[in-house]
């Protein structure tokens, strides 16, 4: 199953390199076609895979560490606080290369705020954290709405940005995100066994020799950093982090060894497909924001799973 899925993924990657506004003949490309393929298409396909994996991975870790099947980059406030920075940067007309940096900055500030709020007596409370995240979300949304209202000239930029997409991809950004993803994945994979135990109640997990609070803190910070980096480059791409971990849990079990891997892989697969669709649905080069497609694809599949395999999702 694992090999089959990897094969499907590789085929999807290769195929989606050939899908887009311009048809490319893979066997004898013209110079322009080759330039498009290598300079734009390939980095973008790989980038969408990396971002999808980042979102899937963060969702998988969030749901477990926060003990909540609804936990993802939205409920923890990471996505919206990153978006806040990007939106303000766009609205104030700061140089565009700064946008991801500022988004990352506010994302980390949001992370720190939520983290501080949810820490009582030195211990992180998952429920408080979700609450703090949701409130963070609301506050950030309010400021974003204000920016939309006040900086009307930037309205369309802001709205398009919030709908998510792969705006400008180059090999440098791709490398950066790939390194962040790899670091986080290896870190989590090395702690897969401990992460599993977080599915137990707190006391049981602790009595098995885990410093629950420290593990939860590390997991939360790294997962949020993943989201902040991803969102700062692509805008808000919803639903990947929420749905993909459930899907892979339902198909491959809850063991984090598997869930980390399959959440990343399925997240990458979903986003590669969604971006291929966003590039090609409208003929002539116009693009559909990719967030719309992930929500549609992911949402419909999720509803199907919810109907057919509900019991394998969550029992709380």
């Amino acid at each position: 199953m694992k090999k089959l899925l990897i094969l499907i993924f590789v085929i999807t990657l290769a195929t989606s390199c050939l899908i887009g506004s311009t048809a490319i003949n893979p066997f004898s490309p013209s110079p322009v076609e080759r330039d498009i393929l290598l300079g734009l298409r390939l980095p973008r396909v790989l980038f969408s895979a990396v971002i999808g994996a980042m979102l899937g991975l963060s969702g998988s870790v969030y749901q477990l560490t926060l003990k909540n099947p609804l936990a993802d980059s939205f409920t923890t406030g990471a996505a919206s606080s990153s978006a806040l920075g990007a939106v303000l940067a766009i609205a104030l007309g700061l140089p565009l290369p700064l946008v991801p940096l500022i988004a990352l900055g506010t994302g980390l500030i949001g992370l720190f705020t939520v983290y501080r709020l949810s820490k009582t007596n030195g211990v992180i409370n998952p429920v408080t954290m979700i609450l703090a995240g949701v409130v963070m979300n609301i506050v950030a949304s309010a400021v974003i709405s204000f920016a939309k209202y006040f900086f009307e000239d930037s309205l369309s930029s802001i709205v398009f940005w919030l709908m998510g997409g792969f705006f400008v991809v180059d090999w440098g950004k791709l490398t950066l995100c790939a390194v962040v993803l790899l670091f986080a994945y290896l870190l989590f994979a090395g702690k897969a066994l401990q992460l599993n135990l977080l599915a137990l109640d707190e006391h049981s997990a602790q009595s098995l020799g885990i410093n629950v609070d420290r593990l939860r803190t590390v997991a939360f910070v790294v997962a949020t950093a993943l989201v902040a980096v991803a969102v700062s480059h692509t805008g808000i791409i919803g639903f990947v982090g929420l749905i993909v971990p459930h899907v892979s849990r339902s198909l491959f079990g809850s063991d984090m060894h598997n869930n980390l891997f399959f959440s990343s892989l399925l997240g990458a697969l979903l986003l590669v497909l969604a971006d291929a669709a966003s590039r090609s649905i409208i003929p002539g080069g116009a693009e559909l924001p990719v967030g719309i497609i992930t929500a549609l694809l992911g949402g419909v599949f999720f509803l199907y799973l919810l109907q057919t395999r509900r019991e394998r999702f969550w029992h709380g």
Partner: protein, 260 residues
């Protein structure tokens, strides 16, 4: 062209009983037309990004007009760009004539100028104004080597002008080929589609919508693009009014110099 002629004929021979005295402009592009029709003193209200008519009160923005302020001004003519931001329901609350200023081509600018002139009883001025614009187009140089042109509205996310944008007609009139991107005013666009279209000229606007774009020539994704880049001012280019005709002339000159 026939539509314009019909409008002009109507302008010459109609006798309108209605003549507006108090105008509120909610379509910023129309401000220039009103000014050129010598009707500045009639303007009692305007949106906040209209620089003309210092005496007029600001009534919010064109996206969020303030109904109370508008009502208080007791206008008899409202110039709006669409019902998107100023709905029929809002219009019903105000006892005033409604004029939609929505030109998508140069011809429609003149046509709507003449219609507007009737409403405010400025027929002579309209004839002169329309004639002057017409004259501008006569000075155009023929362009043999027509450049293919794309027009960037914002860099992030990348959006370009579509065929319903006045830019499209300006480029065509100036002797260029407007790359057909889609039947809208603006579209979210794919950089690789731009490469594939191989434009000869890449116009990028700088202004409130695209505040600090990086010069496209320096952007990695256009490394492979063999095009000239031309920077223009958004406020000068994006509004469909008499400035559009000057823009045609300027672009035409640029095209002409470029081909030599």
């Amino acid at each position: 062209m026939s539509k314009l002629l019909a409008a002009l004929l109507l302008l010459l021979f109609s006798t309108s009983s209605f003549a507006a005295q108090r105008i509120v402009i909610l379509a910023p592009a129309a401000a220039d037309i009103i000014e050129k029709l010598d009707a500045s003193e009639m303007v009692v209200g305007k949106t906040r990004n209209v620089e003309e008519f210092p005496q007029a009160q600001k009534v919010g923005s064109h996206i969020r007009p303030n109904l109370e302020l508008i009502t208080a001004l007791d206008p008899d003519l409202l110039i709006i760009s669409s019902n998107k931001f100023f709905s029929q329901e809002m219009a019903k609350k105000i006892d005033a004539e409604l004029f939609y200023y929505t030109p998508e081509t140069l011809e429609e600018i003149l046509q709507q100028t003449s219609q507007l002139a009737q409403l405010i009883d400025r027929k002579d001025q309209a004839l002169k104004l329309i004639g002057a614009q017409w004259q501008k187009l006569k000075r155009l140089e023929p362009i043999k080597n027509k450049p293919k042109v794309i027009y960037e509205i914002t860099e992030v996310p990348l959006t370009v002008a579509g065929s319903k944008n006045i830019i499209a007609d300006i480029i065509k009139a100036a002797g260029g080929i407007f790359i057909n991107t889609g039947h809208r005013k603006m579209l979210r666009f794919n950089p690789e589609a731009i490469l594939a279209q191989k434009p000869n000229l890449y116009i990028w606007q700088v202004g409130p919508m695209n505040q600090a774009p990086s010069p496209p020539a320096e952007r990695g994704q256009y490394r492979l693009l063999q095009a000239d880049y031309l920077q223009v001012d958004q406020l000068q280019f994006s509004r469909a009014n008499t400035r559009s005709f000057d823009n045609v002339l300027e672009l035409n000159t640029y095209f002409h110099e470029r081909q030599n």
